[in-house]
């Protein structure tokens, strides 16, 4: 579905991403994880075409991403970011349907698809006449997902989609998102820095550090056969608070 071959990105003298290969199969969920500045967001933004690589090429379903087909290929991707990136001057309905209306899709089709998606993310259709600032953060992320799914893309790209939510809502939404992904059978590339979230969603994890991939594989493989001491360090750092919590309860 998605192939990255020797893709790299430099900003002046700093390497944001060293030459990287990555393959994502159809229906697979791959999670890019690592500390801040490790290059995981850069990788995702390269796939969406928001930035151009210095070397290497990106293929989506066998087609190479290039400036002249970027707009078309983007319609086959859905992109969700941390704060949702909803347009503040448009109603939720207009936010979700903006691209479909721009493409002059049939009015009935749009209305049907909107209702379908509202049901999928479990939002009442009446809410759609509101503006982004009138709803909660969790609701905004659901609307953002609706917008990403509107044209039924092959590939979903999520950059810390739950990063700005409080823990309870975050947990509930994790469950929901996963069931949606499974139900739709979408190919998903997600960025997070939360190892538990990564383990929960990802068929495979791509652990990155300083612009390089350290290890790729299922969470279990990372935990049991770390390719580098950093892998263990990274996992431990997030497991320890949980263990402390468990100790207190004992």
């Amino acid at each position: 579905m998605l192939t990255l071959s020797r893709v790299s990105k430099r900003y002046n003298d700093t390497t944001a991403l060293a030459p990287t290969d990555l393959q994502v199969a159809a229906g697979e969920t791959v999670v890019l994880i690592g500390p801040s500045g490790c290059g995981k967001s850069t990788l995702l933004r390269l796939i969406v075409g928001l930035i151009q690589p210095n070397t290497g090429s990106i293929f989506l379903g066998g087609e190479q991403l290039q400036p002249d087909n970027l707009h078309d290929l983007r319609q086959r991707m859905g992109y969700v970011i941390q704060e949702g990136g909803l347009f503040p001057h448009l109603t939720l309905r207009d936010n979700v349907t903006v691209m479909a209306r721009y493409m002059r899709r049939d009015f009935d089709w749009i209305a049907r698809r909107l209702a379908e998606l509202a049901q999928l993310v479990r939002l009442p259709l009446e809410l759609m006449t509101r503006y982004p600032w009138e709803i909660s953060g969790g609701q905004r992320q659901r609307v953002s997902l609706m917008r990403a799914l509107m044209l039924d893309p092959d590939l979903l790209l999520l950059d810390e989609p739950l990063g700005a939510l409080d823990p309870m809502i975050r947990y509930a939404l994790q469950q929901e998102l996963k069931s949606i992904f499974e139900k739709l059978g979408k190919t998903v590339v997600m960025v997070t820095h939360d190892i538990a979230e990564a383990a929960f969603f990802g068929h495979r994890l791509v652990l990155m550090r300083e612009g390089r991939v350290v290890q790729t594989g299922p969470f279990k493989a990372l935990a049991q056969t770390p390719a580098h001491p950093f892998v263990t360090q990274f996992i431990e750092a997030q497991r320890r608070p949980m263990e402390q919590l468990a100790k207190v309860l004992q």
Partner: protein
């Protein structure tokens, strides 16, 4: 057709259709356009010329109190005006100083070479003179200009033209070796008030000024014969002889009819007794040339309406054009940072040009009156709109713009659907700023004959008539508030 001519015609066409100004309307009978300088004597003489031309059965307009000799001279040469009252000394020492003319015959030849003519002298020499309060002069025992050398602490204040003219202060200082450092330039009429209030000690006078006796001033003797003779004449375009021979014949009748005493009295009637220039001119023509002319009296409301109309046209055309040009420029500035830098610097640079200077720069290109004023106001209105468009779009969170890109919207669609709507508040604020600046600056357009609320303000300053100043200043302020209110309404509409 070259671009200059094309632009000129375009603006003239726009002007003519909006105002239906007699000078620019095609297919009309001959119209004679008279100019005058921005002091009372010139306006009275200009008014006489207008009435004389009208008396000869010719449609005549008077563009009164234009801002300075340069403006009038260029306007005459361009054909924007056909005639104006001038002084031989000014022509020989200032306007044509480079020709180094010595005699009146030489002057006439030089004028003829430029397609211009002048009448014989009208009968008075309105020379420059240097004057001060009689009381102060007596206390310091000052009689001659050279006596001033002993008092370097005296404060000098001169009319703006006098400050810079070849036959003004620079030459005077050199000839008399005057040591004074504290020398200020100001409006000629305001200098009298400075003398009266004691903030100025010495100023330049026109010897026919009514204020000399009114303010009890002493004229210091020009003991080194610095000032030339400033015989008043009527300067006109040679082609007027063919176009309106009857008017020229009447203009020539003024020659030798006005002596210094008469002129001083006419000035006093306007400046001190508050009669209108038209009345004074008409009564003079009646008494001396036995010409019966009914001065057209316009009531205050008619005048207010005319100034409002002129002002609205100036502001309306220039601001609309600025909006149409500046918003796209602001967008270009966002898309191409390098171009943006250049555009913003140029617009900023224009803003630093003093408004009167910009008006005057445009005269050789566009003549006097509406067109150069509209272009200058247009240029001044650009910067706030460009800058706010630029800032408004730049200020949109990158996450929002990237979300739009990620949806697959092309950049034009992003501009239309996302960026412009989100920048609207900022753009409107820019337009509002421009509109208010525009309404204010448009009052200066009267200096180049474009009319508007500046007209009564200029006349009011010249005649020391607060009521007249307010007649221009108050509506201008009200208009500025109104314009601001309208844009605030639009803003509220859009945001709700």
């Amino acid at each position: 057709m070259n671009i200059r001519l094309f632009v000129k015609m375009l603006l003239l066409a726009a002007w003519a259709t909006t105002l239906a100004h007699p000078t620019h309307a095609a297919g009309r009978p001959v119209t004679v356009s008279i100019g005058s300088k921005s002091f009372t004597e010139s306006v009275i003489l200009g008014e006489m010329l207008r009435q004389l031309a009208q008396r000869a059965g010719i449609n005549a307009i008077h563009r009164r109190q234009l801002g300075g000799t340069r403006v009038l001279w260029n306007a005459l040469r361009n054909g924007d005006i056909d005639a104006y009252p001038e002084y031989t000394g000014t022509l020989m020492r200032e306007t044509l100083a480079r020709e180094n003319l010595q005699t009146e015959t030489q002057l006439k030849q030089t004028l003829a070479a430029r397609g211009l003519r002048m009448t014989r002298p009208l009968g008075f020499n309105n020379s420059y003179a240097i004057g001060m309060k009689k009381t102060l002069a007596e206390r310091l025992k000052l009689r001659k200009i050279s006596d001033l050398r002993a008092y370097p602490e005296l404060v000098f204040g001169f009319g703006n033209e006098f400050m810079d003219r070849a036959d003004g202060w620079p030459g005077l200082q050199q000839t008399y070796h005057l040591p004074q450092k504290n020398v200020r330039g100001m409006d000629h009429d305001l200098a009298y008030r400075g003398i009266e209030s004691g903030s100025l000690d010495v100023t330049d006078l026109y010897v026919t000024d009514a204020e000399i006796s009114y303010y009890n001033l002493r004229v210091l003797e020009d003991n080194l014969d610095y000032f030339p003779v400033y015989d008043a004449v009527i300067l006109y375009r040679a082609d007027l002889e063919q176009r309106a021979p009857e008017a020229i014949a009447l203009f020539k009748k003024l020659a030798g009819r006005i002596n210094a005493q008469t002129m001083r009295e006419l000035n006093a009637r306007v400046k001190l007794n508050g009669e209108s220039e038209a009345e004074v001119a008409a009564s003079f023509l009646q008494a001396n040339l036995a010409l019966d002319i009914a001065p057209q009296a316009k009531n205050t409301w008619q005048q207010l309406w005319r100034h409002t109309r002129e002002h609205l046209v100036l502001v309306g055309i220039s601001l609309s054009a600025a909006i149409l040009v500046a918003i796209p420029l602001g967008i270009v500035a966002v898309r191409h940072a390098h171009v943006g830098q250049i555009v913003l610097s140029i617009a900023g640079l224009i803003q630093t040009i003093p408004s009167l200077a910009l008006f005057v720069f445009l005269i050789p290109l566009l003549g006097i009156g509406g067109p150069p004023a509209v272009v200058a106001l247009f240029l001044y209105s650009l910067l706030p709109i460009i800058r706010n468009t630029h800032a408004g779009i730049k200020g949109i969170s990158p996450a929002i713009v990237e979300s739009a890109q990620a949806l697959g919207l092309p950049s034009r669609a992003i501009l239309r659907i996302v960026e412009l709507p989100l920048a609207t508040g900022s753009i409107l604020a820019g337009i509002k700023t421009s509109a208010v600046i525009n309404v204010g600056t448009a009052t200066l357009a009267a200096l180049i004959g474009a009319g508007g609320y500046g007209q009564p303000i200029l006349t009011g300053i010249r005649l020391d008539d607060i009521g007249l100043i307010l007649q221009g200043a108050v509506p201008a302020a009200v208009l500025a508030l109104l314009v601001q209110g309208v844009f605030e309404l639009i803003e509220r509409r859009l945001s709700s």
